[in-house]
Amino acid sequence: MNRWTVLAAGATLLFAAPAVHLLSALWAPAGEHWPFIQTHWLPQYAFNSLWLSATSALAAAALGTVLAWLETAYDVPLRRLWHGALVLPLAVPPYIAAFVYNHFLGYTGWVQSFLREIIGLPPEAAYLHIPPPALAVFIYVLFLYPYVYLIVLGDLARQDAAVIESARLLGAGPVRTFFRVVVPMSRRSIVAGGLFVAFEVLGDYGLAAYFGIPTLSTGIVQAWFGLYDLPAAERLAACFLIGLIGLIMLERLITRRKLPYTPRPRPLSRQALRGGRAALALLVHVIPLVFGVFIPLAQLVAFFRAALAAGTVHALWTPLGNTVALSVLGAAGITAVATLVTAVARHFPTRVTSAFPEVMLAAYAVPGAVVAVGVLGLLLPLKTLFSFGWMVTDTPLMLLYAYLARYLAVGVETMRAAGERLGRRYFDAARLAGAPPWRAFWRGEAPLLLPAFISSMLLAWIELAKELPLALLLRPFDFETLATTAFLYAGDERLIQAAAPSLIIIGVGALSVIWMMRGKR
């Protein structure tokens, strides 16, 4: 074992420590509220989390798959425009969509005002009351389906078009072809996309908290902030974690086995659509965009103009500065650690070293609330044990550590993909020329990995800039980020003040969408 391996092992341990701590909490004495939580919260909260994520995942899988297939097989009018636009709803975090829609459909919102004042319907608009869980599923589907869309689209592009053409030549019409050939052949990517959405929903804190839907994520926070019972919160988080580990293993099992390699994939030649079919396809494309992009943006811009008029925008500068500083530092840390572990796994491959990136990738599926409680449980004792403990627990350092623990996967994925394309040849050549590992990497590989460094930095920065649950739970006193500002204002129904930070977050999200789509077409 060389020192690079030791360093990578140390980094992996350091950032896996919150999860390890949580699992060990299962054997520690439970908090005094645990029996209560176990009886009254756990079954109900777990049930809510499960059905919210299952329903959203199913609906998002259906919508994403249909859109991906339409994009692959048909010349939908304005196709080039849709390709990028369909991913845009990803730029809006569900917790922002939640308060936008709550207002939009509420008594003073545009819909009810329109019905009351223009159409002249009676004011007690109970007919427009959408139960919060239904609205939650609607928002999750609308703003998360692009994950399925992108994953299935990529899979369809790899499939042999001749197989689909065969189905048509054997008499199968478009509907039969879709259900009997396209869906079964893409089932793994559809399931993978659906699971991705399920993980996002399970991990969501902001939307569920805003709508007051008790889920495992909100329950963990409640146990800590409501009951002040950290051991009980840890226990709840550990139960959640165990369920998630099961789900992650299921996902690995499903996505690992790929269908046999198709020899020479050729893209399907797109069929032109005319008349009613073209109109229907257009409608299927327009609806997610209207609800997923235009309505939230229009509503937020209206709020923002009101904020400008009221002169409350200046309150934004401090949270903006905090967000930029923390997310840039976090992104740099993520890229550095990800580079270390992926390089060690590639150049000194053993079963152990190749497990390092895997551990970090799996951490991405762990909800922010779980990571936050793990970090709290792990680091809070520092304060009592050491005199300098406060330097960790009472400063943004704790939040930074949590950012890395949760989001290293973003960097690992980018750096690993780039490393695999690079192979080992440059490193090996440099070492044979007499360079030690560090120099071989720095001079031989790093220049070639530069685009990946930038990509990893940018992706991680975007994730951190909009991150909510970790910031909400771990930020020091009187320290706000854009996300916490937006969320707290929205929670106080001060939507006008929530608009500016929300718009910045959406702008950053749009940047990530553009970055993702770059070079795809």
């Binding site: 197989v163 065969s166 030549l169 039969r176 052949m185 269908l259 030649s269």
Partner: protein
């Protein structure tokens, strides 16, 4: 829709084990004394250019003509890039010609303003890489095109095709569990099962080792003869073309 049904229903299917050599009943144009000029497949003035290639690129076809008689096996040869596969794709309806007409058995499949979609043409195609459905067994692959048939008839037909291509005992296998030659026979059986009016084969012998190839050429010819079908075979190898076909067309 109605026409499609008639297509499938009136098309002769060989009875179990011993293919009928008679002309199909109900086909008014095909008398006993088939004339040499009678065009079963007729391609007239066909022009085509790949849309992605742009206007400046030379067209793949410009005023191309071809006629094939019923029951004839015609080989299409030519150097690569001459549009052999494209011709098959145009006849199958997978590409739209920019000009010209394609007719099959008196039915206009493709004209500038009217195009019959591939699933309603009654044209079968064996793709170069076979394009078997990876998620279906041999049995289900062969039965894929028979979804409008009754359960019993479908089962009987699948059994018949399995026997015809000598794949007995492999019904439950998936395509990736078969050898290249077996995969090709499944692809042939799948294409022939719904009794298409015209069978298109795209380079059916290109991916095979030489020993297997000779055997398969004989196989394919015998099979096409056995079901009395009209076929268009694309191959870059003139020798293969002469062995398998009645006639050769060079692009």
């Amino acid at each position: 829709m109605h026409r499609v049904k008639v297509m499938f229903e009136t098309k002769e299917r060989p009875s179990k084990g011993q293919p009928s050599m008679k002309k199909k009943a109900g086909d008014a144009e095909a008398g006993d004394g088939e004339s040499v000029d009678e065009a079963y497949v007729s391609v007239r003035d066909l022009s085509f250019r790949y849309p992605a290639a742009g206007k400046a690129a030379p067209p793949v076809f410009d005023g191309f003509n071809l006629t094939v008689r019923q029951g004839e096996i015609v080989a299409v040869t030519g150097a690569s890039g001459r549009g052999k596969t494209t011709l098959l794709r145009l006849i199958a309806g997978l590409e739209r010609p920019s000009r010209g007409t394609i007719e099959l058995d008196g039915v206009r499949l493709s004209a500038p303003n009217a195009v019959v979609p591939p699933e309603r043409r009654g044209v079968g195609m064996v793709f170069q890489d076979y394009a078997l459905f990876p998620h279906l067994t041999v049995y289900d692959n062969i039965g894929f095109g028979l979804f409008r048939w009754s359960k019993d008839r479908r089962h009987g037909r699948i059994r018949e095709m399995i026997r015809l291509v000598r794949l007995d005992g492999l019904e439950g296998r998936y395509p990736h569990e078969l050898s290249g030659g077996q995969q090709q026979r499944v692809a042939l059986a799948r294409t022939l099962a719904p009794a298409p009016k015209l069978v298109l084969l795209d380079e059916p012998f290109s991916n095979l080792d030489p020993d297997l190839k000779a055997e398969l050429i004989a196989d394919v010819r015998a099979l096409l003869r056995a079901v009395q079908t009209t076929a268009l075979i694309v191959t870059h190898d003139r020798e293969d073309a002469l062995t398998v076909a009645d006639r050769m067309v060079e692009l």
